[in-house]
Amino acid sequence: MAAVGIGHSPTFRRWDGTPENSVGGISLKALRRAIQDAGANPADIDGLVMDPSTTTGAFWPQGKPLPWDAINAYNRTDDPLDGITGLSADWILANMLELSGIGFTMYGVGCMSNAICVAAQAIGDGRAHTCLVLKSWHNLEGRYYQGGANAGNAIPGSSAIRSLWGTPACFGTAVQFAEYCRKYGKSHDMMAPFIENSRKNGLKFPEGYWAQHRPEEITPEDYAAARWIAKPANLFDNDMPIMVSAAYLFTTAERARHLKQKPVYILNHATSRTRPRGLTPTLDEVEEDTARTARKIYEGAGITANDLSFENMYDGFALFHQFHIEGLGYRGLKFGEALDFYQTDISISGPNPVSPSGGNIGCGRSRFWMHTDCIQQIQQRAGERQVTGVKPEVAVSGGPMPVGGNYMVWSATPD
């Protein structure tokens, strides 16, 4: 199967309260743009895969009046916050009447990476032939991770232990990175070129938040001066929550030939659902799992690390990107070598592009820039961000976590 259309909404730091910029509103925009980009007839689309969760950690505050103007601006479902702080397939279909041929809907929960795997498998299994894939995020005013379950008096499951003691979200990755530095004799400042490169690439991504709203680079000096969030993870090792939506249109290789854009084929998808022994995976567990994931990725796609033109593994937290690419053996990397690799030319114009999308660090929290970039690079539609030091033929993207995620291989050719 192949990706044939991309649609992105505009980005916002937080919802402004208007119907058109609600998470439902921006989702409709992204979906329609993907269909238009592909040159497809909406009535020919028979599948919809999406993530119903849209929170970045922001929840509708208890007791706050509901935003009825925005709710009633659309055809609603039984849940008044559907389209505001969450998104169901029913809501989408009630507001996109042009999608008259949908016979298959499924949720790919978590992030776009999972939704892509679900959609790819659905088309492979013949459950749909032309499928929209959607991931949207909302962000509200105020601080995030303060509401929802975190505001309650009791928290179920292992979160009771993690959240009770109030560690920030990046704590686990910070612990792994600290052990990484100890084991391999590396230091946090060696991450600076990666951060600088990611933001530079992100500023060349016109769909991204930083390019649209705050075209700020992050220099090594900026990085070194940033405050710690969970030492050794600093502010710029974390991504910033935003409102954004992206949609892709996938179809069979045969149908893709008749659409507007150059098809980008998915050669394989792979999943890690490894359960660590403790609440936070150890570095050993991370390395074992990223290596296992890489074997699955390569074996299923029928490729080796040498076939990768570039990589777009997840980066939101920046301090685990090296776990992903060391597991992949990108450019022959072994465990403990990525930070030295970052000191070489990892730019889009060099022979070893690292995260040409800029990822979440370069574009804001979405977990989908990497996928859009793989498609655009292979289609030669990445504009200023287009890789020039390599021929974009085969790429890998995915995440979120090194232990626990979904990954895919994109290709200019179907085999």
């Binding site: 730091r13 705050r214 405050r227």
Partner: protein, 112 residues
């Protein structure tokens, strides 16, 4: 001598979200002979670029946790930090020996 440190996001009109303090307010403070600068989570290079864009030659531009450094670098009779967050502005300002003002308090204060 009075030193004023400005938070940006949620405090200045240039912030994300915009605050109630105008750039003109900062310019007037500088013209009035105060030591002025920014203390923000924005990259230092972005803070400097913002001040340059507005033609204000600030005395410092630092990250959020560096108010103590500012105090040790500049001799002043009183040090103020103006910001919009209890946890990221008020508390660290007071820990660093600054007096803290919310943006509306800064507007109401007779600076002359």
């Amino acid at each position: 001598m009075i030193l004023i440190s400005f938070d940006i996001d949620g405090t200045l009109e240039e912030g994300d979200p915009p605050g109630i303090l105008t750039i003109e307010f900062v310019r007037e403070a500088k013209k009035g002979g105060f030591l002025v600068g920014s203390c923000s989570d924005r990259p230092i290079s972005a803070q400097r670029a913002m001040w340059k864009r507005h033609g204000i030659d600030v005395d410092f531009a630092v990250s959020k946790h560096m108010l103590g450094d500012v105090k040790s670098r500049f001799a002043a009779d009183v040090y103020y930090h103006i910001g919009d967050r209890e946890d990221l502005d008020k508390r660290p300002a007071e820990q660093a020996g600054f007096e803290f003002l919310w943006p509306h308090e800064a507007l109401e204060k007779p600076w002359g």
